[in-house]
């Protein structure tokens, strides 16, 4: 187990390096820092002095990868690549355009993001699995058919519609909860309940249909026939045998998402004014704050790789036949 963990962690290193190189290439090679400065300062009416000042403020006034002017190890370390990209591995993300430390900002914004993402995730999973089991229990009946039609219809509606429609109906017409905003402590619940419910409803169509397919594939297996043949009621077959065996394909899609919950949801957070990482990213995109976007890309990939690792471990918990070697 330990050897396996170490080997998997070692596998992750070249991928992280690859991600790092891609972000570096995207942000500093496709466009030079001069281009970015010109864009931010306005394409016309920009003096070379202003560009130099902009670059110096952000630490972009260094050579890209090789500083021949520096002494000793500075040849490598006193470059944009080292100070902006390699430093991300140790959690140093530099400063945003407004001068704040990005790493610190990420730590404080993680809480609100999780407060939305975790309940949405857990509740969504529960509702979708129950709903799909219900459809499978009544498979090939009118209930199953209309359930699938409903799922396809719900999948075809834009996520923006759920948010805009939900805000309008619940907050504006019924006045049940505030339209947007956030506060710490127990008070947060009244701000969180609507985004969580909308998040669950928005995702229900696609995930129910997916789980239904998984369960239907499982239900034609031999062991299910055996279980029925020995006289078990359909309810027991479904919940005790099928559900457990369907866990492997479900886990494959679900566990990998868990670490990325930290990143929050771009749409939900920005519509509901939640000060989490999702709205942080969206603000950065709109303000063209390249340092923040770069950091979020890197963190997102790290979390995804952690998710892949967790998926492998979850298999051993769900299925005793799987042994990690």
């Amino acid at each position: 187990m330990l050897a396996y963990t170490i080997r998997r962690l070692l596998y992750a290193i070249p991928i992280l390096i690859g991600v790092n190189l891609i972000t570096f290439g995207l942000f500093f090679v496709v466009n030079t820092p001069d281009d970015m400065a010109r864009m931010q300062l306005g394409v016309k009416r920009v003096t070379p002095d202003a560009i130099e000042k902009w670059k110096a403020e952000r630490g972009y006034d260094k050579p890209l990868m090789w500083n021949s002017a520096a002494a000793g190890s500075g040849v490598v370390t006193d470059t944009i690549f080292f100070s902006k990209s390699v430093r991300m591995f140790v959690g140093d993300f530099g400063r945003a355009d407004d001068g704040r430390d990005i790493a610190r900002e990420i730590r404080t914004r993680m809480g609100p993001s999780l407060a939305i993402a975790v309940p949405t995730f857990v509740l969504g999973l529960f509702v979708a699995i129950s709903f799909s089991l219900l459809l499978v229990f009544f498979r090939a009946t009118a209930l199953d058919f209309s359930g699938v039609v409903l799922c396809v219809a719900m999948m075809s509606i834009s996520g923006l519609f759920y948010i805009i429609g939900g805000q309008w109906l619940v907050s504006k017409i019924w006045h049940l909860v505030p339209i947007s905003g956030y506060s710490g402590g127990l008070d947060a619940a009244k701000f969180l309940i609507l985004p969580v419910i909308i998040g669950v409803i928005g995702g229900i169509g696609a995930s129910t249909r997916w789980y239904r397919t998984i369960f239907l594939e499982e239900i034609n297996r031999d062991y299910v026939r055996t279980a029925r043949a020995k006289g078990l009621p359909e309810r027991v077959v479904l919940f005790r045998h099928v559900l457990r065996n369907a866990l492997i394909p479900i886990l494959t899609g679900v566990v990998v998402v868990i670490p990325t919950l930290f990143m929050g949801s771009l749409l939900t957070e920005s519509f509901f004014g939640i000060p989490g990482l999702g709205s942080y990213t969206i603000d950065a995109i709109n303000a063209q704050d390249f340092a923040v976007v770069r950091s979020m890309v890197f963190i997102g990939s790290v979390l995804y790789i952690v998710g892949l690792l967790l998926t492998d471990f979850s298999y051993t918990l769900a299925d005793p036949r799987v042994r990690l070697q």
Binding site: V19, I22, V152
Partner: protein, 477 residues
């Protein structure tokens, strides 16, 4: 020199769209000669839900195609002088809808309204009133009492005209195909076929599908008739902030949605297929490199990678304004770049599927036989592996479409979508969103954009499901 009345203009996306259509037609002709593929298409053709979804999609595609024939209209000049052409770019759809495009109001007006949405101070009056619209209900004159009757009349007239056109078409088809059509109508009306023989059942399924196409066409015709009759005198979906007709904007958005939904998959297709087959068939270090490549790319969260790439693309476009002659060309370049970026971030899934399937095919007898005969590697990949992967490509193409149409709206909201001057569902939603806080609310732009998007995506989803069921060998059992 005498110039043409218009100067045709081929935008890059138009060219790609027409090339794509040509390729699809060629592929369809090729598929007709393949027994397995013909059988699969026959299964789709017998599925009545799929066929009516396909009819709806065909209407959308027709609108998108009309909107892709671009030209620059000729400016009025002295006779004999060299022809001058306008800077703005129009399409055949614009010409068809010139009434809608030109009849713009001052600002917001509700659907079918006769007055503006907000009060304004009128001339020679101290009170603020709702001013009369310039075009909406202008034919009514001062006699506003007839407003509701007029709408009801137009509704009836439009629906009747649609029905009449449909009946003419139906009669023509019936004369052409005769007896077969009687069964069609019967089954289409809901009678179940009680033939015990399989052939009769097949025929019934086929004519049920034909019946559903006819019914869908009837709905489309009647809807079109109603909308045309109403649009002649009113703004059917109201007008937006600068007074543009929302119906016109919705129709123009269709092309953008179709382009993003299809071009994205198409630009990534060669890369995904090539790398997937190479990784699966050649193996060794090639496999390792390709796997590393797509694992790395897919570990970056999609939206963030797209956002980063689009931000960078914006910098490139903004720092090189000299590349584009007209704003339409710049918007077009941005649209294509967006497709390219979306494609580059999403090819990994298809490549992985291709690799897995190739690994399986490599071990099958016919490939081994070809190897034993000394057929070269590339010939095997091209002749024996690729044709057996085409069903996966087709399924991926149709399954991705609806997701991409929905993604466009979200990306435009995030600020990394199409150019703000490009009319799309995303830009419509994004501008209308600002007005939700108004009291009373301006809802019609949102409703129009969401309804058009829903119709397009639902039809695509239903059609894609049928394609997958017909072509996926696993699900046909």
């Amino acid at each position: 020199m005498m110039g043409l009345a218009v100067q045709p203009l081929l935008l890059w996306s138009d060219a790609l769209l027409f090339v794509m259509t040509a390729v699809i037609v060629a592929l369809a002709l090729w598929a007709r000669r393949q027994d397995a593929l013909r059988a699969a298409w026959a299964r789709v053709a017998k599925n009545s839900v799929a066929m009516s979804a396909a009819t709806v999609l065909a209407v959308f595609v027709l609108i998108g195609m009309l909107d892709s024939l671009h030209y620059r209209p000729r400016l009025d000049t002295q006779p004999g002088a060299t022809a001058q052409y306008a800077v703005e770019v129009h399409s055949a759809l614009d010409a068809l809808l010139s009434g809608l495009r030109q009849r713009s109001e001052k600002t917001y007006s509700a659907p079918l309204a006769t007055h503006l949405f907000s009060r304004e101070a009128l001339e020679n009056s101290v009170e603020r009133e709702f001013p009369r619209l310039k075009h909406g209900g202008a034919h009514l004159g001062e006699n506003l009492a007839g407003h509701e009757n007029d709408i009801a009349l137009r509704l009836l007239f439009g629906a009747g005209a649609g029905l009449a056109v449909w009946l003419v078409m139906f009669a023509a088809l019936r004369r052409r195909y005769g007896v077969e059509f009687k069964t069609t109508l019967k089954v289409g009306d809901g009678d179940t076929a009680n033939g015990a023989e399989k052939d009769a059942e097949k025929g019934a399924a086929k004519s049920a599908a034909a019946g559903s196409v006819l019914l869908t066409l009837l709905a489309v015709f009647m809807l079109t008739g109603v909308v045309v009759a109403l649009a002649d005198g009113y703004h059917v979906f109201g007008t937006d902030k600068v007074g543009q007709d929302v119906l016109y904007l919705s129709l123009k958005s269709i092309r953008t949605g179709l382009l993003i939904g299809t071009l994205t998959t198409l630009v990534m297709l060669p890369v995904a297929v090539l790398l997937g087959i190479l990784a699966g068939y050649v193996g060794g270090w090639v496999d390792d490199v390709i796997q590393y490549l797509y694992t790395t790319l897919s570990s970056i969260p999609g939206v963030l990678l797209i956002a980063a790439a689009v931000l960078m693309m914006q910098v490139v476009i903004d720092t090189h304004p000299e590349w584009f002659a007209t704003t339409a060309e710049r918007a077009d370049a941005r649209l294509l770049a967006l497709c390219l970026i979306l494609g580059m971030t999403s090819w990994t899934g298809l490549a992985r599927l291709m690799r897995g399937e190739t690994l399986k095919l490599r071990e099958l007898e016919f490939v081994q036989a070809a190897q034993a005969f000394g057929v070269g590697r590339f010939a095997i990949m091209h002749r024996h592996i690729l044709p057996n992967l085409m069903h996966i490509v087709l399924i991926a193409l149709v399954m991705d479409f609806s997701g991409l149409v929905l993604a466009e709206a979200v990306l435009s909201y995030v600020g990394v979508g199409v150019d703000p001057s490009t009319i799309s569902f995303g830009t419509m939603i994004n501008t209308a969103r600002m007005e939700l806080a108004r009291e009373p609310m301006v809802w019609w732009s949102l409703v129009a954009a969401f309804s058009f998007m829903f119709a397009l995506v639902l039809a695509a989803n239903l059609f894609a499901d049928a394609i997958r069921d017909a072509f996926d060998p696993r699900s046909s059992t």
